[in-house]
Subunit: 252 residues, 2 copies
Amino acid sequence: METLFRSDVALGLPLYREVKHKLMEALRDGEWKPGETIPAEKRLCERFGVSVGTLRKAVDELTAENILIRHQGRGTFVASHSQDRYMFGFFHICPKVGHKEYPTVEFISLEKEKADGDSARRLGIGKGTRVVRIINRLSLGGKAAIIDDILLPERYFGGMTADQVRERHTTLYQLYQDEFGVAVLRTEERLEACGANEQIAGLLGIDEGTPLLHIVRRAMTFRDEVVELRHSYVITSDYEYYAGEEAMRVGE
Amino acid sequence: METLFRSDVALGLPLYREVKHKLMEALRDGEWKPGETIPAEKRLCERFGVSVGTLRKAVDELTAENILIRHQGRGTFVASHSQDRYMFGFFHICPKVGHKEYPTVEFISLEKEKADGDSARRLGIGKGTRVVRIINRLSLGGKAAIIDDILLPERYFGGMTADQVRERHTTLYQLYQDEFGVAVLRTEERLEACGANEQIAGLLGIDEGTPLLHIVRRAMTFRDEVVELRHSYVITSDYEYYAGEEAMRVGE
DNA sequence: CAGTGGTCTAGACCACATT
DNA sequence: ATGTGGTCTAGACCACTGT
């Protein structure tokens, strides 16, 4: 196939990366929504003027990043947030003995605040920018085990109300997706140990100073823009944090 | 190309997975040692009787798992443990502010013991099996920050001596590789918060009960056999654990 | 220069899902 | 039967590395 010009943004990039970039743009622009199929490979090849192999290499990378999901015989789908996906890819707490279970979520509060310096830096916004702050209590095995302290930039989540958060029967990431059109694509987590302060101890019904796992999670959407900053405080007497590939482990 | 029979272990597996399996076997058998190049793609295609595309797909997976490393123009190399690789892929503690630094390691003790029930289970060996136990103290920024309590099955590390561990100027994984022919291919980590007990507090020079990050790491070699069980106790006032893909993050 | 891996093509056939 | 993704081939050309 004769290649005359290769796109306006081809800075020596391999062709399949250009294609990947264009797919990302289309996804970001909402051309295909979460849960929908994208066009068949053959059609996409025509659209981008590349061969199957090249198109597949672009899609390969997007599936490896859990942005697209392929189903043989059915099509290629835009990844959608669900309870299962949350458990598999974003919730890293599991019991030391026994099987992983979904936490019971109890809404505590929703407030509008101004971001302090540290939060603003982590969110990539200016200090003092307005944010939504949500506090939840999560229970595992019937016992309060985790406090989630969540900050959301108003830019993405302006009209969020307490009722929206309280009445939902989905994960928060589904709420972001369905009500605000925000797709969480990946997260990054940093962990430390801390002693429970007065507020957390009260919410969890434990003694002040009890060792807790403190997780700082940043959730990113397209272009690596941060859309959520979450502090989780976890009682780790019966549960632990699992750092694993989860994905891969395919076969020898 | 005419395919008559496809290997003795072809249980409906794709051809490229068979090839991957055979490459793994050759690596496990030491046909190519860490740091060496494996034969050029063309030669491997002849050896396995497959086309380049198929061979490449097998090698792609092995490079994604950090078992092989490709260098354009130079060849494909068997991954070898080095200080840099340890920092990049296995040492997940970094300062809350500033750049990642390599820890100073101080040898505390090496003993031969019998594995208790919990350790034996995690190592995949029988209770009471003999193991080597190493304790190290790691310092960051000049201050003691981590205690490593390491268990190694005697099956792999029988003749290990305190001098071997004390006198080395490499990472432990390099020692496993160079002196015992054991290749650590991947690790799995579980984290919890705990209060420092008397022994750990003493070794770290902190108060008993200080909240610490407790990391339980299992290191695996070929066939997912566990070759190391490591308990790390980390002071997280200035440092934190980073859970990240590290790899990927390739490009939009 | 020769040799290596990196990209790309064009097309065949297979396996699976749906109609 | 049709359409989807999954595998595989055979070969071309490019980019990088070392001699």
